[in-house]
């Protein structure tokens, strides 16, 4: 059996008697994009929080590089190389790109008490890392607030990958963006994948997921509908599954009847 980088086997989570998530099984590998699709309340957030170490799973197994793991704290997930880019992006808009990029982990030089940030180094690295994401920042001194939504997302992704992330979880990165900006972010996802990162892409939009995904997990009301590789599924099938499969057919049927009458 080939060992997958990160494997989820029947992950479930209960809040008291509420079943938040049951039986999620999938694999995440470097250089692949695993898409997790679901409508509001489908359990996507719970899924992220288990992987990010905010919550712990109650059933099933989380296997990282062949050994079972359980993250008790976000720091443990980060240390294991699992970085999460949340929807609100964790950016400070009034601060410059390079300050945001290194916030909390500034490179330093000099002896105490004259220890200071190595600004030249920080700017150089930030510019380089952004260039790897395909964004040529003119001036890393420019504040993040002046960047577009897609560019901000790129800063967050570049930051995560620079600070040693091996698995990148993106929480609805396209939901607040326009059509063009969404395209930019999807391109970033592909670029992160090509750099050898394992990407988990959370979204409710199958049109965004299908072009970039290698593997799809669909959640509905806390239940995993399945785990497909891209070859096993067409975009139409994915859309239909996502929209509720049988329910949608029923609705179409009803509408057809209504218009016939």
């Amino acid at each position: 059996m080939s060992t997958d980088f990160l494997e989820l086997r029947g992950i479930s989570k209960f809040y008291g008697n509420i079943i938040a998530l049951t039986g999620v099984t999938t694999t995440v590998n470097p250089g692949e994009v695993t898409c997790v699709l679901g409508d509001n309340g489908a359990g996507k957030s719970t899924f992220i929080k288990i992987l990010a170490g905010v919550h712990q799973h109650d059933e099933g197994e989380l296997i990282l590089e062949g050994s079972k793991v359980r993250f008790a704290h976000p720091r443990q997930a980060l240390a294991a190389g699992i970085a999460t880019v949340y929807q609100d992006l964790a950016m400070v808009p009034l601060m410059s790109v390079w300050r945001n990029f290194f916030l909390g982990q500034e490179p330093k030089k000099g002896m105490w008490p004259f220890r200071q940030i190595d600004i030249d180094e920080a700017k150089r690295i930030a510019k380089e890392e952004m260039a790897k994401m395909g964004i040529d920042i003119r001036d890393t001194e420019q504040s993040v607030g002046t960047l577009s939504g897609g560019e901000r997302q790129s800063v967050a992704i570049a930051r995560a990958s620079y600070f040693g992330a091996r698995v990148l979880i993106l929480d609805e990165p396209t939901s607040a963006l326009g059509v063009k900006q969404s395209g930019v972010v999807l391109r970033r996802i592909v670029e992160a994948r090509d750099q050898g990162l394992a990407v988990i892409f959370i979204t409710h939009n199958p049109n965004h997921a299908y072009p970039v995904g290698d593997r799809f997990v669909i959640l509905q009301r806390g239940v995993s509908l399945g785990n497909w590789a891209k070859e096993e599924l067409t975009q139409a099938e994915l859309t239909q599954l996502m929209a509720g499969g049988a329910e949608l057919e029923e609705l179409q049927h009803e509408l057809a009847e209504a218009s016939a009458n």
Binding site: Y86, D88, L89, A90, M91, V92, P93, L94, M95, R99, F102, L103, G104, Q105, E106, K108, R115, Q116, I117, I119, D120, A131, K132, G134, I135, D136, R138, D139, E141, Q142, S143, G145, T146, E191, D194, Q195
Partner: protein, 784 residues
């Protein structure tokens, strides 16, 4: 892997690279700084009072307004840092008085037996830090807005100050600091001051080197400005492949000529020598700059130069220059009896001069192509017509002479350079106008102040403008940022020299029998100067001898250091020429001079402003301050200890309040119970004037310092100018509003893209408006 990255970035550069602007030079970078508006405002306010008041620009006047500014700025710097961190401390004003009262009460009055200052002073520090910690912890733990929490501490402090004062002394005045045990030691620290005239240059020792003795500050200032200018060129223009040796020789000759002219100017005092010296310096500088640019920088292509502006633009600029010259001459001549000349005349002339200034501004706007030239031309004619009535025959001849010269220069500019950037042409025309104005003032002004000082300043401004225009015309703008300077080993040599200097000079001072603090400061300053000289020489050598691209920033550092040294030596030492004027030798053979003093508060203020800026701009802590003020949740999620950062900031404010309190106590030796109350309002205003955002997340510690200097200049300048002080607050308020508006405008223009401040923190905007108003209203009543 690497190949794909390169391909990707190359593709990205192809796709989006063309629209990108050239590398931003140091001037553009400076314009985006938050404190730029305050800096311009400070220069404007200084010029205003310098023009209208004789004593304002003197060393005594400077000491006077710096003292007021220092007491404010000492607090405004940490208050600004706290504001950037997203919080307010309304107890900061009351805290300054509280520490003073605690120190005096503990030292003297508890149960009749005092603890002495050796225990009381550190205890008051501990108290201040504890309150700061309490404020910070409470704000963090309860998530209440800081203005509510610190409003509580504010009132508690006011009450406690009054209560304890009455309880122990039965008075609202706590006094007797100078009777407390350990007074001499602590007074040596907090009560120390620099008596300017007691630290004379040793005139006998330097008597043969008159230039070094007298005008070392002027040479330092010019050298510093030159270093700043060349540093700016280095960062802005692209280097050429191989240096042009001939042009280098021209640059060297120009520098020598300028230096000769400068020395001649400083050595001679008279109208004719000013003419000759001024022309020598101008010719030297312009030739030097032209040679330097040809020697070092690539020439711009024809396209980069752009198109020449229309003929009318030159005509309008030239006309404005002539009109300004005519009117200034007329006004000056008409008011010869007034010592200051300028604003001494009637109200009508003042309005008239304002109208002229407006026409000049319109002319520049027209030259930039924003409005049609008809308006300023019409305005110029309208203003010029009545000015004829001011003229008398001798002046008419001079006007024709100067006007002719100005027009001739403009015609030369126009005909010789058909392909010149519009901005270069505007700079040239404006500098020509200023030169005409400067020489007119020089030949017409009655007072020495205008004749020498205003002339020099105007000539300097015109020269800088012209030099920058020459450089822009001759050099291609660089497209990428230069690499950082490679100074490693040399920096270590300088640091070692500095440390050794500090030790040696301190020991020498101590051996001379000076006090500890004085010896330490003096040793540190001298060691610092030694290290600076080494650094400046290293920079100069690197600039001239190597092909290191990164020397621009080092040059700018050198220039700033030289200008600061120049100002410091001008303020702290009596120059030889001053000695002859203000001092006299008594019958007993002793030298008697009027005393000018700088308290230790000024030194503390400068150190605070410098350290605060460094903390904010260069350290991890500074990044964290901006982050917790800008988006606390985001900062927390990437591992910034938000609570610790904010608590530290509160403790820094109360620690600074302790220093201020001690300085007040040792200056007055007796303290009113309400001292400092209501000042928190001023600290916040001054920080806002300095470019700090009320909503947090953005700002400048240096800006708060500059804001304090503006406040000091305005509040003292009104007195110096002998304006009716009843109107003081009206003027103060109006000028502050103007300062903030200029600040906002400049920042808005410089940033171009809108900031998202209001969008990101809507919850705080309405709160902050309430903050300063409430306690200040209450405090003001108590204070006055």
């Amino acid at each position: 892997m690497a190949d794909t990255i390169n391909e990707q970035s190359a593709a990205a550069a192809d796709a989006g690279g063309d629209e990108r602007l050239a590398h931003r030079g140091p001037i553009q970078t400076l314009l985006t700084r938050p404190e730029i508006g305050a800096l311009l405002g400070a220069v404007g306010v200084w010029l205003l009072f310098w023009l209208v008041s004789a004593p304002f620009g003197t060393v005594g006047g400077t000491a006077n307004f710096l003292d007021v500014a220092a007491y404010l700025g000492l607090m405004a710097v940490p208050v600004a840092l706290l504001m950037i961190g997203g919080e307010f401390d309304l107890s900061s004003g009351a805290m300054t008085g509280a520490t003073a009262i605690i120190a005096i009460l503990l030292a003297n009055d508890i149960n009749g037996a005092g603890l002495g200052l050796h225990i009381a002073v550190p205890l008051s520090l501990a108290f201040a830090l504890a309150i700061g910690w309490f404020n910070g912890t409470l704000v963090e733990k309860t998530s209440l807005p800081s203005f509510i929490v610190t409003l509580g501490t504010f009132f508690m402090l006011i009450g406690a100050k009054l209560g304890f004062s009455k309880l122990f002394t039965n008075k609202v005045l706590v006094e007797g600091l100078d009777e407390a045990e350990g007074y001499d030691f602590w007074n040596g620290i907090f009560g120390a001051e620099w008596l300017r005239n007691s630290h004379l240059w040793d005139t006998r020792k330097w008597s043969n080197l008159w230039l070094v003795r007298d005008e070392v500050w002027a040479l330092l200032l010019m050298g510093g400005i030159a270093a700043l200018m060349i540093g700016t060129f280095e960062l802005t223009y692209a280097r050429r492949k191989s240096p042009n040796v001939l042009a280098g020789a021209v640059a060297a000759a120009g520098a020598v000529l300028a230096l000769v002219g400068l020395i001649y100017l400083l050595a001679q005092d008279g109208r004719t020598s000013q003419w000759i010296g001024g022309i020598l310096v101008s010719a030297g500088v312009l030739a030097g700059v032209a040679g330097w640019c040809r020697w070092r920088y690539a020439a711009p292509t024809r396209d980069e130069r752009g198109t020449s502006p229309g003929w009318w633009q030159y005509l309008v600029s030239g006309l404005a220059a002539v009109v300004v010259a005519i009117v200034v001459a007329a006004v000056m001549n008409a008011s010869d009896s007034s010592q200051l000349g300028f604003l001494g005349g009637s109200f009508g002339k003042f309005v008239f001069a304002l109208g002229i200034a407006l026409v000049g501004v319109l002319a520049v706007v027209a030259a930039l192509g924003r409005i049609t030239p008809g308006y300023p031309a019409l305005g110029a004619v309208l203003v010029a017509l009545p000015s004829i009535s001011f003229l008398i025959t001798v002046q008419a001849a001079r006007v024709i002479l100067f006007g002719g010269l100005a027009l001739l220069g403009i015609a030369l500019l126009w005909s010789s350079a058909r392909r010149v950037k519009p901005s270069v042409m505007v700079s040239g025309a404006v500098s020509l106008a200023i030169v005409v104005l400067a020489f007119f003032i020089q030949s017409e002004a009655a007072s020495r102040k205008l004749r020498v000082e205003l002339f020099t300043v105007l000539l300097l401004v015109a020269l800088l403008l012209a030099a920058s225009a020459v450089a822009r015309h001759l050099s291609a703008v660089r497209t990428a940022a230069p690499p950082p300077p490679q100074f490693g080993r040399w920096m270590h040599v300088c640091a070692a020299l500095g440390v050794a200097g500090v030790v040696v000079f301190t020991v020498v001072e101590l051996a001379d029998g000076d006090a500890i603090l004085y010896s330490l400061i003096s040793g540190a300053v001298k060691g610092g100067i030694l290290a600076f000289v080494a650094y400046a020489l290293g920079t100069l050598g690197r600039t001239l001898l190597t092909r290191d691209e990164g020397v621009g920033r080092a040059l700018i550092t050198t220039g700033i250091g030289a200008v600061m040294l120049s100002v410091a030596s001008r303020l702290l030492f009596v120059t030889g020429s001053e000695l002859d004027k203000i001092c006299n030798i008594g019958t007993d053979g002793e030298l008697r001079c009027p005393q000018t003093q700088f308290g230790v508060v000024v030194l503390s203020f400068l150190v605070f402003a410098a350290v605060g800026s460094w903390l904010l701009m260069r350290t991890q802590f500074g990044s964290w301050i901006m982050a917790v003020g800008g988006n606390k949740e985001a900062a927390r999620s990437v591992g910034v200890p938000a609570a610790r950062t904010k608590t530290t900031l509160f403790m820094m404010v109360s620690g600074a309040a302790w220093i201020t309190g001690m300085l007040i106590a040792f200056r007055l030796t007796a303290v009113q119970a309400d001292v400092g109350d209501g000042n928190e309002f001023r600290y916040i205003i001054v920080a806002v004037v300095g470019g700090n955002l009320l909503t947090g997340g953005y700002g400048s510690a240096l800006g708060a310092g500059i804001g304090a200097v503006i406040w000091g200049m305005i509040s003292q300048g009104i007195g110096f100018a002998q304006w009716n002080s009843d109107w003081r607050f009206l003027v103060l308020g109006a000028l502050l509003l103007v300062a903030v508006m200029v600040n906002n405008y400049v920042r808005g223009r410089a940033e171009k893209a809108p900031t998202t401040s209001s969008a990101t923190r809507p919850d705080k905007t309405e709160i902050t408006i309430v903050v300063p108003a409430e306690p200040a209203a209450g405090a003001k009543e108590g204070q006055q």
